[in-house]
């Protein structure tokens, strides 16, 4: 099954199943922020969140270009001040886990995958690794006490270049 998120197209044919959680065409539970996809595999579930600051401007006109540049600058700011992790990626993981649990769909260990569409950014493995460590630490503890339950077993931070390293079974292309 091929699914798209913006310009990124995934071929999930090799998966046991895949759900689009963050579907704008369906009403979401109030106050919940959900990840883009949940992929079911034999041994675990993969919650996949995608951010794509490398996408092209919609319409391609100067106004759209300017808006996109602003969006990218805003994205960089969110990475720098950690709000991407604290206010977006972590709440999405937590809410998505709650959603799966309430839907009795959390029967397997969950891995959280964050894909950064970054073909226009230069990101070294060292920086991705540091980002992953910060994300996992936030997933484990958001308040004064760490969560008693490790609701995700681990997380991975990927770019288009490193996607195939983790998920060679799901081809990805930019369309």
């Amino acid at each position: 099954m091929k699914l798209r998120e913006g310009e990124l197209e995934f071929d999930f044919s090799a998966a046991n199943g895949v759900k689009k959680l963050d579907d704008p065409e369906k009403p979401l539970p109030h106050g919940m922020a959900l990840v883009d996809f949940v992929i079911e595999e034999d041994q675990h579930l993969v919650m996949l969140e995608i951010k794509d600051p490398s996408c092209k401007a919609k319409g391609g006109n100067p106004a759209a270009e300017a808006a996109l540049e602003k969006e990218r600058a805003n994205f960089v700011k969110k990475v720098q001040n950690d709000s991407l992790i604290a206010q977006e990626l972590t709440p999405k993981a937590r809410d998505s886990y709650s959603y799966l649990h309430l839907m009795k769909s959390d029967g397997k260990p969950i891995i959280y995958a964050f894909l950064l569409g970054a073909d226009k950014l230069t990101l070294d493995p060292a920086l991705l690794l540091a980002f992953k460590d910060r994300l996992l630490s936030r997933l484990r503890q958001e308040a004064d006490q760490p969560w008693e339950r490790h609701y995700v077993t681990d997380c991975v931070v990927l770019t288009e270049k490193t996607w195939a390293l983790a998920f060679p079974q799901y081809p990805l292309r930019r369309v």
């Binding site: 070294d124 493995p125 690794l129 995700v152 077993t153 991975v156 983790a166």
Partner: protein, 344 residues
């Protein structure tokens, strides 16, 4: 003062044939342990040192021996170790074409038997320099110079030299604007300024005079740079050799160090440094401005186990990059662990 433009080494220590052209700005040596980064720094430093002061009388052969300090002073021991006899050749070129060369074999014992060519022409033009070794020495300065002068000690001469340079008095006249800015930036990082009382160095700040033995080793290195700028060792046209600036330095201070190095380069100081540190490399990549001249020199062993070099003027072009490769390996292993069951 004309800078170094090129070095050609043949059969020196781990090197097979190494032929490198340098940036007039910052030259960054990277490579695994045992690829000769420090050796390259020492050869170039010896060539600079003999243009000034008492080292001018020593000449290149003796200075070379003293900075390497081989067993029993036998210069042939710094030839590349092979099963057969080898001839070692060193040739260094400066802007304007001045050239200094030295030749010896693995059987050469005495400094006098080193064949040095071009020394008098080379020494006509002064090339001020400083070599900062990995181990910090200022805290151990008291008594060190006197001991080194009277006894044979197992320290390479770079350690003696850096203490001597640190002791040089403040440069006469008003401090120019660029140097003042650099000194102020360092003082902010150090939260004080450095003073010497006899052979003892202190960091002077609002709490009083703090002896160097009580100061973190990373801070002592910044203090040393402050001294070298203040006393005019590091001026336009001089050369700074810095072996692993990252040693004992918290990564949060790395940005300050890189900024100082870039500023020195902008003032006209040629810089050679070796590093094993990703943060230092990345700081250069992120802080470099248009016009900054940075060259990365990657040293590695070829199929014959001889060390050779690859040069790049961009961080991305460094190949092989052992530091980045290590992070790539960690990143990959971390992903595989996550997919297999995850972290604790």
């Amino acid at each position: 003062m004309s800078k170094i433009t090129r070095v050609k080494l043949e059969n020196l220590t781990a090197f097979g044939l190494l032929d490198l052209t340098f940036s007039p700005g910052v030259n960054i040596l990277i490579g695994a342990n045992g690829t000769g980064k420090t050796h390259l720094l020492k050869v170039l430093y010896a060539a600079c040192a003999i243009t000034v002061g008492e080292d001018a009388e020593k000449g290149f052969g003796l200075k070379l021996r003293n900075v390497f300090n081989p067993y029993e002073g036998r210069i042939g021991r710094i030839s590349r170790r092979q099963s057969t006899s080898v001839k070692t050749k060193i040739a260094i070129t400066r802007q304007g074409g001045s050239r200094l060369s030295a030749e010896f074999s693995n059987h050469t014992n005495k400094v006098d038997d080193i064949r040095v060519i071009g020394e008098s022409g080379w020494q006509k033009e002064v090339l001020e320099s400083a070599y900062i070794p990995v181990k910090e020495m200022l805290a151990h300065a008291p008594g060190f110079l006197a001991t080194a002068a009277k006894r044979e000690i197992a320290f390479e001469e770079v350690y003696v030299d850096i203490i001597k340079r640190a002791f040089l008095p403040k440069l006469m006249g008003p401090t120019d604007k660029d140097r003042a800015r650099l000194l102020n930036a360092l003082q902010r990082a150090l939260e004080g300024k450095v003073i010497a009382k006899g052979e003892y160095f202190f960091l002077k700040n609002k709490q009083g005079d703090l002896e160097f033995t009580l100061l973190a080793e990373g801070m002592r290195k910044l203090a040393l740079i402050w001294l070298l700028i203040q006393n005019g060792t590091l001026l336009s046209g001089s050369v700074l050799f810095w072996d692993e600036p990252e040693a004992n330095l918290n990564p949060s201070l790395m940005g300050d160090v890189v900024e100082v190095i870039l500023e020195l380069q902008r003032l006209g100081v040629q810089v050679y440094l070796s590093t094993h540190n990703y943060v230092l490399l990345k700081e250069f990549d992120l802080r470099r401005k248009k016009g900054d001249a940075i060259r990365y020199i990657s040293l590695y062993r070829d199929e014959a186990e001889a060390v050779v070099g690859h040069v790049s003027d961009t961080f991305r072009g460094v190949d092989p990059n052992t530091i980045a490769d290590t992070f790539t390996d960690l990143y990959q292993r971390d992903i595989f662990r996550a997919l297999k069951g995850g972290a604790e």
